[in-house]
């Protein structure tokens, strides 16, 4: 096959799905349904500007500001909108709080619904069949594989996301962080702790 040559006489041939995506983009652009500049803008936003640090910002503020925390748990949408973290798909956000009594964990058994504005694009494991099926069936086992061991008296509650409702876990504030400010606390909030497959890091 010519493209197996070491010195690549022609441009490296993209994979079949990559060619199909190019075809879609070309046809839709020709029809005026798609603006290539808008596509670049969306990619740039998700690659560089939206990520778990948005969610960490929300969590850290909830740890230091009781009034904010109460409002966030009561009705997250207006609170998040005020911070600029609203969904592109018009989804409804619900924040669920971890306590000594209950540990929350988020999954999407249907596909991979995820709070994009707060956490960015989901990691591969969140989209895998294994996580989607097992987190509902055997959440404690899945948590153990993520290195999360909970006391026996802590209940595990699994929230199944949909296209309309997305969940963010508010992890417990680690002990010994009383003196830290919002910015320092943000660094303790991992992506996994906001999905519920991890805990906030102790300083």
């Amino acid at each position: 096959m010519p493209h197996d040559h070491h010195d690549h006489p022609h441009s490296l041939l993209p994979s079949d799905p990559a060619l199909r995506v190019k075809a879609l983009e070309t046809i839709l652009t020709q029809k005026g349904l798609v603006d290539p500049a808008a596509l670049d803008e969306i990619i740039d936003t998700y690659e560089n500007r939206i990520g778990p640090k948005n969610g960490a910002h929300v969590v850290a503020r909830a740890w230091v500001d009781a009034e904010f925390r109460a409002a966030l748990l009561a009705d997250a949408d207006p609170v998040l909108a005020e911070m600029g973290y609203y969904g592109r798909q018009g989804e409804h956000m619900v924040v669920v709080e971890n306590t000594d009594e209950v540990h929350n964990m988020v999954v999407c058994t249907l596909c991979s619904c995820y709070p994009w504005p707060l956490l960015g694009i989901p990691p591969g494991w969140y989209k895998s069949d294994a996580y989607r099926a097992r987190s509902v069936r055997e959440p404690r086992k899945v948590l153990a594989e993520f290195g999360v061991a909970l006391p026996a008296e802590t209940a595990v509650r699994v929230w199944d996301s949909t296209a309309e409702v997305r969940y963010l876990v508010l992890p417990q504030r680690p002990s010994g962080t009383e003196d830290l400010d919002e910015a320092a606390l943000m660094a303790l909030v991992t992506r996994d702790s906001m999905i519920g497959t991890g805990l906030a890091v102790s300083p």
Binding site: R20, K22, D35, S112, S128, D129, A163
Partner: protein, 102 residues
């Protein structure tokens, strides 16, 4: 702490952006998309375990192609022709030169 790459392959990002863009432009509602995509994943998952990487976006691509074919935004035959035209363009373009359609 080094962040993981957001998209594993450029075409994942391109496909994601295309879908978000079409949704925002009002070509389909997100719940409808999620339902179709979930059905595709379920169908694929019956024969093998999906790992959430390439196979996840392959299911995504199949869903979007089918959806756009059904709405008439893109005809299946035109998509195949365009895919093959891009393949030919890559094969006929010297390495390092920009690849364009004739």
């Amino acid at each position: 702490m080094k962040p993981e790459p957001v998209f594993e392959a450029p075409w994942h990002a391109q496909l994601f952006a295309l879908t978000v863009h079409l949704n925002e432009a009002g070509h389909f509602a997100w719940p409808d998309w999620a339902e179709r995509f979930g059905a595709t994943l379920k169908r694929h998952g019956l024969t093998r375990t999906l790992n959430g990487g390439d196979d996840y976006f392959l299911a995504w691509l199949e869903t979007l192609e089918t959806l756009l074919t059904e709405t008439g935004a893109a005809e299946a035959e035109a998509l195949t022709d365009m895919r093959n035209a891009w393949e030919t363009a890559y094969l006929n373009t010297p390495h390092g030169a920009p690849v364009t359609l004739d």
